[in-house]
Symmetry: C2
Subunit: 397 residues, 2 copies
């Protein structure tokens, strides 16, 4: 039945398809997954924290009691009881978030794509931190914005610098808690100033918060959403507090925006798996996260300290780094003359991996930076890998 | 901590967000889900066909044996063994499809979105059948194409009409098997002619095939993919042969396109849930679909015949309809003067629902058409609902 001698297709792709680039991180992850490599490159949570038994029991229960519903098409906005749980969990300090403001997404990456789709025209200005989350830059860049970098210092994003670049901007995208890639958090004073600044400018503020719950020292910082629910768009995820492989996140937005996001989601994939949402609700509805999250924070906090101690012991004095109080990442700044992309080749030759910092910058990359993750590497391997990196750096400074 | 008197945001949405419209079908489904309504409006498969026990056993097994892997982030292209299974199932008649050509998606709706994202610039010509699948029109329209309708007759899409409108087109989108909304199928001769025409024109041909396996009479028709794998993009789904709520579909494409689709998917949601893919593979790998699909086809074929018989008995002579040999839908053409949108109001007053045909047309809607689905309604209710519709129509002709 095959036809004879078809002409090959001369593909004519959309202009936006020319923007598409593979995440540099996902590319190097392929190299670094070899067992002999001590990899600080990953952005993956530790599988040791996945509540496999609880998930298994919940799948069994949901399929037993509501199998036909769980396996049928579902509503675009998401599973009602889970949206209500999320709205309640975000309603603090006198602020009331309504379930209608919550849209369930296929991981919070999809929320980034939907926000880009609904808010960005070609050439629209989008304000981002310096550096920022690579996955967000990747998702937004499909819609061909002009990225504008907001100044940051050792304490994170500088709110005063926003007004100078906000003219005509469609949004400001920020990760206030244990930021990926730097591990930095915004102080409460800066959060208030940032929220006030954006409110004054009428600038939508995206608060991306996948790591906020993973604080090593007490309660998480107050959310910017709670400071101005009419102007802040909040993104959350179950990837870091439960498991990422189920692809479940959410976005909370003022209703005019949420309605557009919901329509964009309907066109993009109809809805996120009903079964997954019912199972997650079943796992968390009676307070499981209250006892589970502290075990994740304790594990990560311990491994973070092991890495920080090893860095203090082995890294040359001219190298500096952040001291995260939560989350999954440490950000390292090398002397200006060291290109971390070249350093990676030498490190890989010694079976140690990290992520070079340059891809995290929307503009003007600083090539003397790199990101380290400590969450999936056991303490003795952290010490061994950092010692090797330290020796390598000592030959460069 | 809430800030004082924030100014409300003057939302500035992207131009494409102005294109977003809720699916008319999803809107009327909200009305028609009341228990007293006999609804032929649904596009949902029958929950009676969902293999709940098999799914439950597979979730248990996958989580028991490979829980940590199943719950971790996974590759963007999908779960290897499942992609291999799909490639093998499509490798027939001397045509070899490689697993590398398969991209797993979050339902086949996502494949539509990704194809739009990668192939459509504003104003790009996209050829569609008349009428066509509403979800595809919705997904593509986000990217602001110019839809061009290809002629159809009682036997479906007319291949000769393609060349006259193909100039500069980015793709032709077709459902050759038991089309949604008409239930029509393309003859083998037309398939060959269509594939040859598109190959000669260098026009990418999208073969969307969610219903192909649901043939009431023997083996499914040959796939257009097999006639020219270098020029046909094939879309498949587990929604109609297993269960839709898990959101699992796939797209098979020549490598230059597949690579772009994969990058677009990475930006859109990183990957489709690993656990879901492993579970589906577990359920189907030993031939389950070979025995399961005939039970679905038998159920739907029986209910289709009940509906056709009832229509022959109750509908006026001036009304005509398709006689599907598979799938989920019958398409009805009323006398020109009857507007099915208005008819719906009167039908709903009598607790019978259907989907008016106009929204399925990209251009020049024919308002005297409507779609009926028979798959979720028991035979006695089909007879009752069709009798009521027939009486109502008798007052109009």
């Amino acid at each position: 039945m095959k036809i004879e001698n078809p002409s090959p297709i001369q593909w004519h792709f959309a202009q936006r398809a020319e923007q598409l680039q593979s995440s540099f991180i996902r590319e190097i992850l392929k190299i670094t997954q070899r067992p002999e490599v001590i990899s600080f490159a990953g952005g993956l949570p530790s599988p040791a924290t996945f509540p496999v038994e609880q998930m298994k029991a919940a799948f069994d229960q949901v399929l037993t009691l509501q199998g036909k519903v769980a396996l049928q098409y579902g509503p675009t906005d998401g599973y009602g009881p889970l949206r209500e749980w999320i709205a309640n969990s975000l309603s603090t300090g006198g602020v009331k978030i309504m379930p209608e403001q919550v849209l369930m997404t296929s991981g919070s990456q999809q929320a980034l794509d939907l926000l880009g789709k609904v808010l960005i025209d070609e050439g629209s200005r989008v304000l981002v931190e310096t550096p920022s989350y690579l996955g967000a830059l990747q998702a937004f860049s499909v819609y061909r914005p002009e990225f504008v970098s907001v100044d940051t210092d050792d304490d994170g994003l500088v709110p005063q610098s926003v007004a100078t670049v906000a003219e005509g901007a469609r949004m400001l995208y920020a990760l206030p808690n244990f930021q990926n890639p730097t591990g930095r958090s915004l102080s409460i004073a800066r959060r208030v100033e940032l929220v006030e600044t954006c409110a004054r400018l009428g600038l939508p503020l995206i608060e991306d918060d996948p790591y906020g719950a993973l604080s090593y020292r007490g309660a998480p910082a107050p959310k910017m959403l709670a400071m101005n629910p009419a102007g802040v768009i909040y993104m959350g995820s179950f990837s870091k507090v439960l498991t990422p492989g189920i692809r479940l996140g959410y976005v909370v937005a003022p209703l005019p925006l949420l309605r557009r996001l919901e329509l964009a989601k309907q066109a993009a994939d109809l809805h996120t798996a009903q079964l997954t949402q019912m199972v997650v609700y079943q796992v968390i509805k009676d307070g499981f996260l209250d006892t589970h999250i502290p075990t994740i924070s304790a594990l990560y906090g311990n491994q973070c300290q092991v890495m920080l101690d090893a860095m203090a012991e082995h890294f040359p004095a001219s190298v500096s780094w952040t001291k995260p109080e939560g989350g999954m990442f440490i950000w390292v700044t090398l002397p200006k003359h060291i290109d971390s992309m070249k350093l990676l080749d030498e490190a890989l030759a010694q079976h140690v991996a990290f992520v070079p910092g340059a891809p995290f910058y929307a503009n003007a990359p600083e090539s003397n930076t790199l990101r380290l993750s400590f969450v999936t590497v056991p303490p003795e391997k952290i010490r061994e890998g950092i010692a090797k990196l330290g020796k390598l750096l000592a030959t460069k400074v």
